[in-house]
């Protein structure tokens, strides 16, 4: 394990400046309600504007509609969007991981069909991994796809499916062969499923604050053509593990409370700031600087052709805990009681952080699972 320090090149600094100018024009500070990191609003129009700049699916090849950019360039765009609290929800999953999976494992026909609209910011994807009886033990999934003519028939239930009610497509890990003793990773396959397929039922699971992100998705004999199988049937576990590496270690795992902290500083401007409050801004700036340098070095490793899965897991485990620590430190300092409907934007954001951030160390793989992945890597064992 080695995190090599890196820094932005001249053209990368230009990109950073361009993104900042774009955001200052599109979402001037004080005129929009910032989103809390990747749990961002879905705004197809905003996604289309980003896509017009080449900032969605930007690391994908231009042959498939992408911009031939790098992981570091994507990092720059993503960190600016997230720290600004921009509404990147619509294209988020497709941009972060699904596009990569289709590029890496898909057929040319699938690449032609999916990647250009992803890069235009048109397609929203949901992820179908967890099931009612399969969470951290993901390989135990039982939702099955069975051969039927020139395709597959799917039955079962996926759960905690974010935004299935708003998205277009569903990338699902399904069982295509019965579980074998001693090798539960075999017999799994990845499918692309139209969320409007006949027999596919989407039911809301209200989030704890009453908002609607989660869904339960039930398959009743849903037909999926062969053309929608990603990669080799039976290789789903391997492909899915690869996909997870794209999910981890990026700015979305450590920037979620940034807009809240920035807003506190904005609202405190001109007031006499207590020493403890000032010190906290200093500490947070330092720690974000440190974590950002680690996370940036992971992006650079990806561009150098490495697969930094241990490094990514370490950053995600640390970053998501840090997000919660930031909120706890704010809570300890603030005298006022706050509400999701406070007049102060800072208080509204803080209330939302307090209530929803327990989920940050759960989503996309719990920190307990990440520790298992990372510590095997530290010991030189296969993850």
């Amino acid at each position: 394990m080695r995190f090599t320090p890196t820094e932005l090149t001249g053209p990368e600094l230009d990109l950073q400046a361009e993104v900042r100018e774009f955001l200052a024009a599109e979402l001037p500070p004080g005129t929009h309600e910032p989103c809390l990191g990747m749990a961002a609003d879905h705004d197809r129009e905003f996604s289309a504007k980003m896509a017009a700049r080449g900032w969605v699916g930007m690391a994908l090849p231009s042959r498939w509609g992408g911009s031939d950019r790098t992981a570091v360039q994507r990092f720059i765009v993503v960190e600016e969007m997230l720290r600004w609290g921009a509404p990147v929800g619509h294209h988020w999953v497709a941009d972060r991981q699904t596009g990569n999976v289709i590029l890496k494992f898909g057929t040319d026909e699938q690449r032609e069909r999916f990647l250009p609209p992803i890069c235009r910011g048109e397609l929203g994807f949901s992820i179908g991994m967890s099931e009612p009886d399969s969470g951290s033990d993901l390989a135990s999934v039982t939702t099955r796809a069975e051969r039927a003519g020139d395709g597959w028939v799917v039955n079962g239930t996926k759960i905690w499916t974010s935004n299935a009610h708003m998205n277009d497509w569903f990338i699902c890990l399904l069982r295509t062969a019965p579980m074998e003793d001693g090798n539960k990773h075999a017999g799994l396959s990845q499918f692309l499923i139209d969320l409007r397929s006949p027999g596919l039922e989407i039911s809301p699971i209200p989030f704890l604050d009453g908002s609607h992100h989660f869904n339960e998705v039930t398959f009743h004999d849903v037909f999926v053509p062969d053309a929608n199988v990603v990669g080799q049937p039976g290789m789903g576990w391997h492909q899915n593990t690869t996909e997870m590496a794209y999910e981890r270690g990026g700015p979305d795992r450590w920037l979620s409370p940034f807009s809240t902290v920035e807003q506190l500083l904005r609202e405190a401007a001109g007031t006499q700031m207590e020493g403890a409050v000032s010190d906290l801004f200093g500490e947070l700036a330092a720690r974000w600087w440190g974590i950002r340098n680690l996370s940036l070095s992971v992006a650079r490793l990806i561009d150098e052709g490495e697969a930094p899965s241990v490094e990514s897991a370490l950053v995600k485990e640390m970053g998501t805990r840090y997000e919660q620590e930031v909120v706890e430190k704010l809570v300890q300092l603030i005298d006022e009681e706050y509400s999701p409907e406070s007049e102060s934007l800072f208080e509204r954001l803080l209330a939302q952080c307090v209530v929803t951030f327990p989920g940050n160390t759960i989503r996309g793989g719990t920190i307990e699972i990440l520790r298992s992945v990372a510590s095997k890597g530290l010991q030189g064992l296969p993850a």
């Binding site: 995190f3 090149t9 807003q263 200093g282 700036a285 330092a286 600087w289 370490l314």
Partner: protein, 395 residues
């Protein structure tokens, strides 16, 4: 659209890493480090170190140094920490060697050490003499030894002769030094005073790792004072000192973490290596994160300090290192169980040094205060640019 350019890369010669790692690996065995603690020093290790020229790395050649960059000196210090080498590499080189070179003062053949500045109310530079420091006579310049809490003062005559009185606390390896160097302010100008250790009364005192942090009484001592350029002051010394500690700490945390991974893989309980237990894995992962974080902080801060002003990076790095030392030391000790609490097992060489280095050249509270002034100074719109661009965003 403007086309920005990245600064020139700062590269550390791999040969430096390999050579220092091999040298310390051979010399700094568990037994040798233990023996150095009992003897209050390790002259043989120091001599071998000096033979490589690493003792004066980053000190300009025209000032009798070995040349090389600050980043290379910091890499050597990281390896000093990694091997718990019981030598005053920072004091003699990038701190003392730097001050003497800036002052144009001659360096002796023997060891040079530095009186650490002591922060007073978060301000390294605004220090004046403490209660004990009133200079008896005359209108000549009245200066403090180091900033803040150092209870020493000097009277500097026109010919540069400095008469000192008072004392300085926790001066690293003073008992082995030939020359003791401190920074001060003389008539509003920064100056450096060098005092032969033979003129001082030195009372040995160990830090928590048994390394010398002696009390130096200057009463009656005569030294030489010389002006230094603006910017070579207590604050600059504090930053260099903090950077040196971050590098040492990065090495120590990394080694402590490696010891913990090995130990938990060998130690079997309930029929399997304890590293297989999720509760133990948590300690391994947290320690590995802190090792990575502090090494990154040290390397980025060293890179920026090599280029020039790095007040944000160094402050951030020391605060991060202080906090990480606390967490990682706890995690590694917990994973080792009782074995880590023995003198026989080497974990303590690292954990005890970390407890000491954490407190040197700025506590958590000190650097958080410095950083807080920077962060609130740039304001809401400048906060993220400060995180991405560091000191250069301070304007």
């Amino acid at each position: 659209m403007t086309v920005r350019t990245a600064p020139e890369p700062v590269v550390v010669d791999e040969l430096i890493t390999e050579t220092a790692d091999r040298l310390f690996g051979e010399l700094c065995t568990h037994e040798a480090v233990q023996a150095a603690e009992e003897a209050g020093g390790a002259p043989d290790i120091w001599d071998a170190f000096c033979e490589t020229g690493f003792d004066l790395i980053a000190v300009p050649e025209e000032a009798g140094g070995s040349g090389g960059t600050l980043a290379e000196a910091i890499e050597v210090l990281r390896l000093v920490g990694y091997h718990s080498a019981p030598i005053p590499a920072a004091e003699n080189g990038i701190l003392g060697g730097w001050l003497l070179a800036e002052a144009g003062l001659e360096r002796p053949d023997g060891l040079v050490t530095v009186v650490p500045p002591r922060a007073a109310a978060g301000d390294w530079s605004g220090a004046s003499c403490s209660a004990d420091g009133t200079v008896e006579s005359g209108p000549a310049e009245t200066v403090s030894g180091a900033a803040g809490g150092a209870n020493c003062s000097a009277h500097i005559a026109d010919d540069g002769t400095a008469q000192l009185r008072g004392s300085a606390l926790r001066v690293p390896w003073a008992r082995s030094a030939e020359l003791i160097v401190c920074v001060c302010e003389s008539d509003g100008q920064p100056a450096v005073i060098a005092v032969p250790a033979s003129q001082c009364e030195i009372t040995p005192l160990p830090n928590m790792a048994g390394e010398p942090r002696d009390t130096v009484s200057f009463d009656g001592a005569t030294g030489v004072a010389a002006p230094v350029p603006d910017g070579v002051d207590a604050e600059a010394l504090a930053q260099r000192g903090a950077l040196s500690r971050v590098a040492l700490m990065a090495g120590a945390i990394e080694k402590m973490c490696q010891l913990t991974v090995s130990y938990t893989n060998e130690r079997v309980q309930f029929g399997r290596p304890v590293a297989r237990f999720q509760a133990v894995q948590q300690h391994l992962v947290w320690a590995a994160q802190d090792a990575a974080l502090v090494r990154m902080a040290a390397e980025v801060a060293a890179r920026e300090a090599t280029r020039g002003e790095a007040s944000f990076e160094i402050a951030a790095a020391k605060l991060i290192a202080n906090q990480a030392a606390a967490r990682a030391t706890k995690a590694c000790h917990q994973a080792h169980g009782a074995m880590g609490m023995t003198q026989e097992y080497p974990l303590h060489h690292f954990s005890r040094r970390l407890w000491s280095w954490r407190k040197e050249y700025g506590s958590d509270a000190h650097w958080a205060g410095v950083l807080g002034t920077m962060a609130t100074g740039v304001g809401a719109d400048g906060l993220y640019p400060l995180i991405t661009s560091g000191t250069s965003a301070l304007g």
